[in-house]
Amino acid sequence: MGSKGLYACYKIDMSDDRELLKISNLKASIDGKEILKGIDLEIGSGEIHAIMGRNGSGKTTTANVIMGHPDFEVTEGGVLLDGEDLLEMEAWERARSGVFLSFQYPQAIPGLQVGNFLRKSVASIRGEDSAKGPGFRELLKESMESMNIPRSFLSRYVNDGFSGGEKKRFEILQLMLLKPKLAVLDETDSGLDIDGIRDVAIGLNSAIRGTNAGALIITHYSRILEHINPDFVHVLMDGRIVSTGGPELANKLEESGYEWLEGSGPDE
């Protein structure tokens, strides 16, 4: 795909590997069932990592545990963002510390207008001053244009009656406005057409590449990775990372599936 080279120029100097996110031996369960069985993952500033894996391997749980979903219990291990212990924080405190999650299934909030919601969210995460004045309006306008989101979107209700594609574009719009240190994208590409995937990739690249931020992309498919060109690809299987490589690992998974990795967990 020709667009692959288009974004290569964003790729930053890998020598700047200041540690942004450090996940160590993370174990988490829901309703007493252990889903994550010891995850180790480090993301440096400016890096984009991808996690691939089959359904039920623990991908979405990883995203939810990083964000602080109250249903999951962390039984062991640690998650540090810029040296701060995320596990000590509520979800909203993590958001204010710089964690962003693009949801697989964004929730509808009937009656809450998009424009109002965006302003309030920017204010609570980046401060009141960032949510007003020409600076905010300009950023909003540019970000909406780059995501191909029309102005009329602002007066709709958050995710209420949105198509699948609109929901995902809206998640990335929030990413661009909230400017997190760490963006976690949970299957943002699923259900998107080619144009949608390209727009998401543009949004993500502009939010992460060339900044001190980092991203973790959770996906089933390598297609989005062709546009994003991740620095590392990890394979998650039964709650553990069983393989780590460069973008070529995604291509191999696409071609050969996951069978060749069966039984390759660190404990086996």
Partner: protein, 469 residues
Amino acid sequence: MSKGDARDAVGDYKAGWNDPENSSIRFDFGLSEEVVREISKLKNEPNWMTEKRVKAFRHFEERPMPTWGNTPMLEEIDFDKICYYLRSSDSTKKDWGDVPEDIRNTFDRLGIPEAEQKWLSGVTAQYESEAVYHSIREDLEQQGVIFLDMDSGLREFPEIVKKWFCSVVPHTDNKFAALNTAVWSGGSFIYVPKGVKVEMPVQAYFRINAKNMGQFERTLIIADEGSSIHYVEGCTAPTYSANSLHSAVVELIALPGSHIRYSTIQNWSANVYNLVTKRGIAHENAKIEWVDGNIGSKLTMKYPAVILKGEGSHAEVISVAYSGKGQHQDAGAKIHHLASNTTSKILSKSISKNGGRGSYRGMVTVSPKAENCKLNVVCDALILDKNSQSDTYPTMEVSNPTARCEHEASVSKVGDEQLFYLMSRGHSEEESLAMIVNGFFEPFTRELPMEYAVELNQLMALEMEGSIG
């Protein structure tokens, strides 16, 4: 009961404070025919009004309590412990600067001066029983619009009042309408002449300030042919330890081709009985809209009604109710289609929290002779915890087969995933809940003037504080 009791602790209610009672005349508690006659005499009312009051009082005495709704709560009302008339300043003032200082302080804390901005056409603020402040912008006066407190209306325009008073809500309508007719004081009197369109909302504030002070305001609005008016009323009350009774009557007359919108936010403190009769008559091609928000009170029983008397007339009732701990909001709407080609719409939204109870009680009727009527009823309830309750009592009596009726009802709970989504955007759990709640009320809020919308949103955010276990 000493006056000192009235300065009780402030409690957790947002607007929960009260000024020392500065009343020149005050009645003892309890009601009798003598008290009714005395009220009328003090106001120098014409004889017909005195007799109407007395007749209504007798009906009130004979009439049993309603046997439906929250009867146990109703039975707790002790009519002998209510003061029926209290005048807090000697005469009605028109200039803000002339209003006594302690009363102005009260209004300052309610934010009324800010409310009085250019877009407001006039302000009537009811302090205890009588309007103490009343201003009308000159352009309104020039258009011939009458906007007075009801007592002045009766004094200055007795013929108009006599013609319409009790024409929509007769004193025999219900026990509380009878009580109001017997002891009414204050309220607004508005007459809009033919063809005059009042562009800006006209506004009045009400509050109860004396302990055990019943508030029995009476409002009468007449929109002459082809005219239009938007009347806005907002209420807050201090917290008291004893029960207070608020029993108003509002009558609207929309003559052919006219349009009346009546918006209310009632924010009584959690010990107030709010038992109000609101009804309008819409003549040919006229339109009546009730926009009604019930936030506080111990028990509210209120069903804004429209009688669609003239062909092609239209009614809308948009209401929200919020019930917290120990509160019961029994609210809804009544619409009677008496003429052909009449249309109506009811949108009712209720939130119950912390053991509160919200009830929708609605009645829509279509008479046999009314052809091609359209009616639409939507009621949504949001329940915030498992201790709270919502119930629905919808009634439709359709006696003409050409009517088109739609009815939708929903009950929902705040989802954990919705909360998590908002929290992941930096909003605390309480803020997130407030965003969901305000979103739920949004179809109502957007009908309000901006200021009221902001006030309501802030109020709900306050209500959500401390609600997360």
